[in-house]
């Protein structure tokens, strides 16, 4: 291979690796935030991302109603319209993911912490009577009616149960998370826009080459992904470090009990943490769909595992660590698959993780959300 080609491939891999890495990093932030505050692997976070990709795709087709051109393609947007569309899709994905993350916390985690509320009770009661109804009939409308009828009495007894307020062991949280993750993915697989098939939507951004540098062409979508991710992460870091709520997040991460005594509303902070993670996942989802134009009900799992790996790699509970871990994982995966073949991509990622953890058992930058190193 001539030198220029190797150099070109190297820089190509670097650019795509950084783009992939910034998506990992954004999703990893959600894991890291929740882990820092609750010491919990929020296994269902990956599904929040998946829901975000679907919201972005649906927003770009249904809501904006793009007409097809005569040649079967869709028109690209340009100028102010493009910016408006991208921002709109971004906000839609962020909103849905954020709301999803908050609902997840209310339904699957808060009751386990021993302070379940009416919202959680009603949602869980609805799910219970939905499942019970399924034993007798399997028809979506009938099931929904049964679920609604059953919700009232069951939620009453659930609320009474919640009043006892016992805290569950740590493993229970993880299993609940796994259950929620499976349920969300399956629900999208059953009732989602394209069921279990890939959901593809028209592209609104023309993926032209923005500039050439170091012998490689850099496409505009990669630039938007990297810059967008960096902006979002900066905003998050500022939020956590400069605002009052952010100070609460750091306080709870450092010592929840003391924070509570000193007047921090711990439940509110936990909701804020989940919302922040969800919003970041929504942003990642929008960037993801911008590059790949498609999504599927089961994309969350592997991407979630990778992002969690990124979070651990950088040092879980550490915001900068998530960024570093994400970029590192993206690059290592890309270089690795060029060297050893694409099928070994995941193996390389995990081997790197193993090696890093053996040398530095708490990740590259170490664990810290509450400490000064945020």
């Amino acid at each position: 291979m001539p030198d220029w080609l190797i150099i070109r491939i190297f820089w190509d891999l670097t650019v795509t690796g950084l783009a992939l890495g910034s998506i990992y990093a954004l999703v990893a932030l959600g894991y890291t935030l929740v882990y820092g505050v609750l010491r919990l692997i929020n296994f269902a976070h990956s599904e929040i991302f998946m829901v975000g990709t679907f919201s972005a795709l649906i927003a770009s087709t249904q809501l904006l109603n793009i007409p097809m051109l005569e040649d079967g393609n869709y028109p690209y947007r340009t100028g102010a319209a493009l910016v408006f569309f991208l921002v709109f899709i971004l906000l839609a994905a962020m909103f849905i993911s954020g709301v999803g993350a908050i609902a997840l916390e209310r339904i699957a985690y808060r009751p386990l912490r021993g302070n379940g509320d009416a919202f959680g009770a009603i949602a869980l009661a609805f799910l219970t009577s939905f499942v019970i109804g399924l034993i007798f009939v399997n028809e979506t409308k009938a099931n929904l009616i049964i679920a609604c009828v059953g919700t009232a009495p069951i939620s009453y007894s659930y609320l009474r149960f919640f009043k006892k307020g016992k805290k569950a062991p740590r493993l229970a949280f993880l299993i609940s998370a796994i259950g929620a993750s499976t349920a969300i993915a399956e629900a999208v697989g059953i009732w989602g826009p394209n069921r279990r098939e890939q959901y593809q939507t028209p592209r609104i951004l023309e993926k032209k080459v923005l500039f050439s540098a170091l012998g490689t062409d850099v496409r505009i979508d990669y630039v938007i992904v990297i810059v967008g991710a960096l902006l979002m992460m900066t905003a998050l870091t500022l939020f956590v470090n400069k605002t009052k709520l952010g100070r609460g997040v750091r306080a709870v991460a450092q010592d929840a009990e003391t924070a509570r005594i000193l007047g921090v509303n711990v439940d509110l902070i936990i909701v804020v943490t989940f919302a922040l993670g969800g919003v970041m996942a929504g942003g990642a989802a929008m960037l993801f769909t911008m590059v790949y134009d498609q999504s599927r009900f089961n994309i969350g799992f592997i991407l979630g595992v990778k992002s969690f790996t990124a979070a651990v790699l950088g040092g879980i509970g550490n915001l900068k660590g998530a960024l570093l871990g994400g970029f590192m994982l993206g690059l290592v995966e890309n270089y690795g698959s060029a060297l050893f073949g694409g099928q070994w991509k995941d193996v390389i990622a995990f081997v790197v993780l193993l090696v890093v953890l053996m040398v530095r058992p708490t990740g590259i930058l170490g664990e810290s959300l509450g400490r000064a190193r945020v």
Partner: protein, 361 residues
């Protein structure tokens, strides 16, 4: 709703009565009770023929004895093994499917792909190799704590699957076919059609594993595991070599997983990397925690439920994974210790000396 809790209390008192009566029985009576229970389990393939019970246990769509062997026995074996790692030693293993795959692949490689040894000879080899894998994975990773261990084991499960998929030596994505079957003894024919002999073999393996694990749990090793699970630092300070015992838990868990894999490979005769997805690890873990992690009988119950319930309620086949996910959340919210929680020793010497209070969990 208060009637429901009344009913629950009455059920509890009933079971307490039964326990008291069981304890007051003579040895002969108890022994015959055990024999009857074991016999009933060996006759399980015919349960669907019993009037009322049959309606309850029957699995529409699939032959009942196939479900018993391919699902229930496998899940029970795996849950027993994983229970040692997760329930007894408190190590979160999300890649348990890796050991299961190793067991199956050892059988595949040695009876079909590269040699044609008989299944019975390969079975112990499979168990030992899985155990070795447990030690190989455990040695570098068991020094990590909790959540890091979870992600590393998750990676391990995936590495095993991807390696099997990409190495021609392991049959790549085609998998391995014509795997050796257990030897037929007299009328017990291990063929393609009748799954009953496999079920009986599997049930025997389950009894064997239960017996061994029970002995282990009551021994010094078992006490060391409990100590590590409850407080690793305290255990270390009290002189328990935590690393050694964690490694033991990992190795023994891996061995049981490998055994399950070997049994599976011997039954189905064909394995491919797609049989060992990461999601299966999650199901395994769910079985242990659903049943009650740390309690062997809880793990067995969990294994049975995770395996059998989806087969029983076939009329919503398309939604069973969804139901499964929701059920996991519900069980964790309302019974976070699992359906059959770990029994806490009520008569620990310390407490009984100070007035016989129950140990609070």
């Amino acid at each position: 709703m208060s009637q429901l809790s009344d009913l629950w209390k009455r059920l509890q008192s009933l079971s307490a009565d039964v326990q008291v009566r069981w304890k007051s029985m003579s040895h002969v009576q108890r022994l015959s009770g055990y024999v009857l229970a074991v016999l009933a389990l060996y006759l399980a393939p015919w349960w669907p023929k019993i009037p009322a019970v049959g309606w309850l246990v029957n699995t529409p769509g699939t032959q009942f004895s196939t479900v018993l062997n391919d699902q229930v026995i496998i899940f029970v074996l795996v849950a027993l093994g994983l229970n040692v790692v997760v329930g007894l030693a408190g190590l979160l293993d999300l890649g348990y499917v890796g050991f299961y795959a190793v067991g199956a692949y050892v059988v595949g490689v040695l009876t079909s792909q590269h040699a044609s040894l008989p299944w019975l000879v390969v079975l112990p080899i499979a168990v030992v190799v899985s155990m070795l894998f447990g030690v190989i994975l455990g040695t570098p990773t068991l020094r990590l704590r909790g959540d890091y261990l979870a992600i590393v084991t998750l990676g391990f499960g995936e590495i095993i699957r991807i390696s099997a998929k990409n190495l021609d030596w392991l049959g790549a994505s085609r998998g391995i076919s014509d795997i050796g079957r257990p030897p037929s003894i007299g009328p017990l024919k291990f063929g393609v059609i009748d799954p009953k002999p496999y079920y009986w073999l599997g049930l025997t393996l389950v009894f064997l594993v239960v017996f061994c694990l029970h002995r282990l749990e009551e021994s010094r090793v078992g006490r060391a595991w409990t100590a590590i699970r409850e407080d690793e630092d305290a255990a270390e300070l009290m002189g328990v070599n935590t690393f050694k015992f964690k490694l033991w838990a990992f190795a023994i868990g891996a061995a049981v997983g490998g055994l399950a894999g070997a049994h599976y490979a011997g039954k189905v005769g064909f394995i491919s990397p797609d049989n060992f997805p990461l999601q299966l690890s999650i199901l395994f873990l769910a079985a242990v925690v659903l049943g009650g992690s740390g309690n062997m009988y809880g793990a067995i119950l969990g294994g049975i439920m995770v395996a059998w319930l989806p087969e029983r309620f076939r009329n919503f086949t398309d939604k069973r994974v969804l139901v499964f996910g929701i059920a996991l959340v519900l069980v964790m919210v309302f019974r976070p210790e699992g359906l059959l929680p770990r029994r806490v020793r009520t008569k620990s010497p310390m407490k009984s000396a100070s007035g016989g209070q129950e140990v609070a969990q």
